[in-house]
Amino acid sequence: MSYLYASHLYWIPLLPALGFLVVILLGRLFKGRSAGYFTTLVMAIVAFLASGLLVEALQAAPQWAVEGGEAVLVRPALPGFPFTFDWSWLAIQGERGVHFTLYVDQLGAIVLFMVAWASLFIHLFSIGYMDGEERYATFFAYLQLFTAAMLTFVAAGDFFIALLAWEVMGLMSYLLIGFFFKKKSAQQAMKKAFITTKFADLGFMVGLFWLYKETGTFQMVEVGQAAEHLAAGVALAIGLLFFLAAMGKSAQFPLHVWLLDAMEGPTPVSAMIHAATMVAAGVFLMARFYPVLEAGHALPYLAWVGAITALFAAVLGAAFADVKKILAWSTVSQLGYMFLGLGVFGWAAAMFHLVAHAFFKALLFLGSGSMIHGAKTQDIFEMNRLARYMPWTYGTFLIGAAALMGIPPFAGFWSKDLILHMAEEHAPLLWAMGLVAAFFTAFYTTRLIVIAFHHPSYESPWKKAPWNQGCPALNLGPEDCPPEPPPPPDHHPHESEPVMITALLGLAVFSVAVGLWGSPIFGQKLLTYLYEGAAPEILPPAKLMGGYLLGTLIALAGLFTAVALYAKDPLKQRLPDPVVAALQRRLYIDEFYYKVVARVAQWPTDLLWIIDTYVVDFLVDLTGYAVGAFGQALRWLNSGKVATYAAYIVLGAILLILGGVRW
């Protein structure tokens, strides 16, 4: 059996990497928008290849059917599946070396498909959105390298390669958050993101080396087989180290702090890296690492962290005024759902949510980019009746919002309810937290839509509030982080240009389609595809009906509460000042890091500085002085008289001869 696309699957990560090289090396040749068109074309090819790969995976994967509540294997996997590609790297004369292994199973194929298409639409959108910005070509080069790294990470069959791709993603995230590096807040935000995620990545490295010591392999399949032989304590420790990395990358409490400030980057970057793909990499890593997590009984930690994050981020999302930051909280919260899903054995449910969320959140973020582009402000209060001026943006945003809120029949409804159903069976308390979070999700999304799209422009209450002066979350005062100026009073919002609308429409189609694909309406095809014979998520719709009803009711409750509160009087503050201040300053967690954690961490740093300055530097200087003094002492030998030198030669010759006679 030969597979056309699967046998060439290495082109999928390779093409954007080449695109990066071309654009970064020949940057000056790309005038105007040509860099955008070129990289979008590259992504179109990659999306085509990834689609072909998914089709082949769908044909070759084992096929399951649901019959009477039981999963029945209809046909086992065809030979050659999962697709692999192996290239031995750094192998010296028979040593194993590091294997550059690509491994595409059911999950890998669908996530590759998702990343490629989301990236294509985001490239397309950026053509218009970034128009006229400085370093236009560089932006697209960065996007290309990021996409290459993400595709490598998803396709990686080797944890070492995954770590490399993971770090490249971290670097591109850093560079793209700081794309507008002339702003102090962007400089501070890029450092914050980098340091937070690097701290978490230590877990990945230490865990990986430990894992290698225990199992002797980096290969994911072999690790999966070796997992059950690990001692439970070791598996738990390694699992938690990997989970630390996932928490950092996927912005889970208490390492969520960087994601909000990552919104300093251009909006397409927020859509690509900080909503659809990179932040989901943590969830994906956990999915790949599932055997070890199960062996070490680490899943309850995932579930708890996920549920806490889902709830607290959803609540905070309702307190913010910046459209991108509301969506960022929403991302944190939805990622929490995914970890909750993984933690309560809902592996396929979490992966369904991952793919669905990527599409609808990319859609929402690009929609917010379109809003910002049209309204010339990021503050929802300053936006002026956008529904009237931006019908296409409004329509697509509603589709994304319905998916996020969990309104049937949109994507988030099916995936989130499946996660909640699994939670109900395994952890009722976390289920309750998930339900409350779902209420707040519907609430903040509706609040955003009502205020931004339907209300006229107001003076922003956020900018007036005394506790929001400067950027306390970035440790910057008002002089370093002045509020963005409101749009000029005569500014009329306008609809964005066709390339941007096309991207929005494409993502809208995908987000609806993916949701339907996994829904019982079409026989939960996505879930049976992902099913691996052990997970119990394939349930008859009758069993899910109660959950569906409850989910719909909760979403509608959140929606109507927000309409009731904000339709008439959006500016009224209903909670006392200290509560609002605490919510808007993110429960002071960021400030805690700056004021306490950073200072405590400074003590050992200071100690090391003293040792470095007075011990290490002293020794280094001493070496230099000693050599210098020795030279001074021998200076008289170098008299400058030729005759003396001749005498030295003779002396040396005599000594050599005498030495030769002796020995």
Partner: protein
């Protein structure tokens, strides 16, 4: 009977004279002359040793010829340097060239 020892003694005496001249003379021309004496001392040693010990290949005699060629080349370069030093400093003494003093 003149033995190899006599030749080697002559060579050693010439070598010592040449060495003494190289180290003590201040005039560059005298130094070059002393170098010639050194080279010829070596040539005598080669030729004599070969004449007594190696009557087949004449390798020592060949070395003596080489030394003559090298000496000629060395002298021409030495005189070129000497001329330049003289033009530069107005003197042919060795101790005026002391830029390399430590």
């Amino acid at each position: 009977m003149i033995t190899l020892g006599h030749f080697l003694a002559l060579s050693a005496v010439l070598f010592a004279i040449g060495l003494f001249g190289v180290i003590t003379r201040r005039n560059l021309i005298a130094v070059l002359m002393s170098v010639e004496i050194l080279l010829n001392a070596a040539a005598i040693a080669f030729a004599a040793t070969a004449a007594y010990k190696d009557p087949v290949f004449f390798s020592g005699q060949l070395f003596a010829l080489f030394i003559m060629v090298v000496a000629a080349a060395e002298l021409s370069i030495g005189f070129a340097i000497l001329l330049n030093v003289f033009r530069h400093t107005g003197s042919a003494a060795t101790d005026v060239v002391e830029e390399m003093r430590g």
